[in-house]
Symmetry: C2
Subunit: 212 residues, 2 copies
């Protein structure tokens, strides 16, 4: 996704307008984190951003478009891709960054992306673009490991990366267990063992290599 | 969890009352599957069950307790645990049963358990009991494999089973990709490779062996 492109049908803000816009989007993320999508109101967002409700409605026709814009901004924020020279450290580091991202930085936002709000077609689309973008950015971690001979030829980056994040999201969204560095290291160990055994080679994947 | 025990504070139904109760709980699951928790109304549940709204309110004080009871009933429904004599087939079969369970049988119910409704403490509790129960029931699949020498001594059943289900829930809840037998087989292959490499031995797990 191009972080520079404004959503269709809305004018890209500049100057004072841009500051108001940024404040409203940040307030929306904060509200999402605090009360969740179901309880989010435009009034509370406006109050938090220090603007009048009508200022919000002038730019966003409803709560849904506001939330979609806020999540799109969030998606544009990047995570660094580790490059330590060793695939085991790289995977542990990447998994630890995800854990930190989900727990410290954006817990409520993550909860929103995977809550009832995820049923909105626009938010499901934000989510798909998010992961396609993440996997594309992180792919060099895998291809470099293959080039160094640390992983089998033909290892599919997206398959491997999904395996890496799966145990982390399981604890966050399904079993409701805490996330910590041990969670990340365990996820990295599972994925590395499977990768070395050739489980993520594209031709072994039986059509699982599409990103969505 | 004991499927025989009635929720505290409610009388266990018998006779005609039991039939009405079962019809209402089934209607609640169907409504959850169709419209989701956010849009579920007691009125629609009553209509679907063929009873008057007041009949529902006589047994359940509100929408929340009704949903909790319906999900608890759902949890009591069991999945068979494969026992083919080979751990690879057992894991594939168990993963395929989960895929079928999530996609064909109870897609909407799964969506509810992991949606905004999951923020209700009662539903989060139902979820924790569900997984503790599932892992306990499926543990013999792992211990039998260890006894047969197909997996390393000390393999932790809950750790292994979480790894097995993680890629399936990732596709269901996070990346929004379709679930099929290939999804299940891929999850089984990842888990088997990691298990053989000793990743799920309890002493290697750095405190990840608690169930919640």
């Amino acid at each position: 996704m191009d972080a520079q492109s404004a959503p269709a049908g809305r004018v890209k803000p500049v100057g004072r307008g841009a500051k108001v816009c940024a404040a409203v989007l940040a307030a929306t993320l904060d509200e999402l984190a605090e009360v969740g999508y179901a309880n989010l109101t435009v009034e509370a967002v406006a109050q938090r951003a220090g603007v009048h409700k009508t200022t919000v409605y002038r730019r966003w026709k409803d709560r849904e478009t506001l939330v979609v814009d806020a999540l799109t901004e969030h998606v544009a924020a990047d995570l660094p891709i580790p490059d330590t020279g060793d695939v085991a450290s790289d995977l542990r580091e990447l998994a630890r960054l995800l854990v930190t991202h989900l727990t410290v930085t954006h817990l409520g936002v993550a909860a929103t992306m995977f809550s009832d709000a995820g049923r909105l077609p626009e938010i499901a689309d934000v989510r798909r673009r998010f992961f396609a973008d993440r996997f594309r950015r992180a792919a060099p971690l895998v291809t470099r490991a293959v080039e160094r001979g640390q992983l089998p030829e033909g290892t599919d980056p997206a398959l491997l990366l999904k395996s890496l994040i799966a145990p982390i999201y399981l604890r966050l969204l399904v079993t409701c267990e805490p996330l910590d560095d041990a969670t990340a290291d365990h996820a990295a160990a599972i994925t590395l063992a499977a990768a070395r055994a050739g489980v993520f080679r594209a031709h072994d994947a039986h059509g699982q290599s599409e990103t969505h």
